[in-house]
């Protein structure tokens, strides 16, 4: 009997391996979680998309809870989430700022004119540096930032009604209280 026990080691290793492989099937190997959750948002100062002479900086937004949505006119997936954002902006009390990422001003303005503008203001990140500071790697992405300027949540990919309802809304409520 003892002789057979040694072979159980093989089984054990196999089972562990299978467990992890199975777990892997429900994971996304390319999704990059943000190391900035719970850390202060990076400082920035960018011109507004609509009025480039005016600038918006992180400090301007302290004292309120706000959302940053990274978008671009060339981004196909942004079209997917945009109607949701537009509708959400109408009824939500949280200001949504847009980060127009690596885009042309004219193209960005036209996109907003065509598909609606949910943003309190959009700021233009022409060369993507602010995006890099925020750890942006794909578009669209959305951040929830609290009163002290700390990043509380990052949505990778388009927003969905479920995410808004189940994750973001409760968080906003809690941060605002």
């Amino acid at each position: 009997m003892m002789k057979h026990v040694r072979y159980l080691v093989h089984f054990g290793i196999l089972l562990v391996l299978l467990y992890f492989l199975r777990a892997g099937l429900s994971l996304n190997p390319k999704e990059v979680p943000s190391p900035l959750i719970g850390k202060p948002a990076p400082a920035f100062s960018l011109p507004r998309l609509d009025q480039p002479e005016q600038r918006v900086s992180l400090d301007d937004l302290r004292g309120q809870v706000w959302m940053l949505n990274v978008w671009a006119s060339w981004c196909v997936a942004c079209r997917q989430e945009h109607p949701l954002l537009v509708q959400y902006a109408k009824q939500a009390k949280v200001p949504i700022y847009g980060l127009n990422y690596k885009d042309e001003r004219a193209a960005g303005m036209k996109w907003l004119a065509d598909f609606g503008n949910p943003y309190t203001a959009s700021i233009a990140d022409r060369d993507g540096r602010v995006g890099i500071d925020f750890g942006v790697y794909g578009v669209p992405e959305t951040f929830v930032i609290d009163r002290e300027g700390v990043i509380r949540y990052k949505q990778i990919g388009p927003l969905t009604p479920e995410v808004l309802r189940d994750t973001i809304e409760p968080m906003l409520k809690q941060l605002n209280s």
């Binding site: 390319k30 990059v32 979680p33 943000s34 190391p35 900035l36 690596k102 060369d127 993507g128 540096r129 890099i132 500071d133 925020f134 750890g135 790697y137 794909g138």
Partner: protein, 153 residues
């Protein structure tokens, strides 16, 4: 007649030869090849996050180009390799590093292979030595070493 033509031909030949001399030794693609080499060395260890599995050195993606530019600027401003690495991991996490940093989380990863070699060779040694101590009865008898099959020697 012929001398005039040959004179023209000869002058043309000289002119062409001069053009050949004027064609220059190509300039390096970047203004500072040594810096560029450093950029590439670091970029070869950073993952392109929008690609399937490529370094930012090899990728043509926009983000890769932007990150290479970032590396270049940081090196130009005098920062060292570790600072560049820290900058990237602060924004993208350890995922962006192709060389996993050595920490508690990755200890098993880095020590594993060495440990396995020691364990493996050690086990082999122990098993072989134990076997060498067994009496002949435990083994199959040798067929009086029949002319060894040369194919197996």
């Amino acid at each position: 007649m012929r001398t005039a033509v040959s004179r023209i031909v000869i002058s043309l030949a000289w002119a062409l030869a001069c053009v050949g001399v004027l064609a220059a030794e190509a300039l390096p693609a970047s203004n500072d090849p040594i810096l560029e080499a450093r950029v590439m060395k670091i970029s070869n260890e950073l993952r392109c996050l929008v690609c399937q599995n490529e370094t930012i050195a090899a990728s043509h993606a926009d983000l890769a180009v932007d990150l290479r530019r970032q590396v270049r600027e940081m090196l130009q401003s005098g920062q060292n390799e570790q600072q560049v690495i820290d900058y990237m991991t602060a924004r993208y996490g350890d995922f962006v590093l192709y060389r996993p940093p050595f920490k508690a989380l990755t200890a098993l990863l880095w020590i594993g292979p060495g440990a396995m070699v020691i364990l493996g060779l050690g086990t082999l040694f122990v098993v072989l030595r134990r076997r060498s101590r067994l009496g002949d009865a435990a083994f199959e008898p040798d067929d009086k070493d029949a002319p060894q099959d040369p194919h197996l020697s």
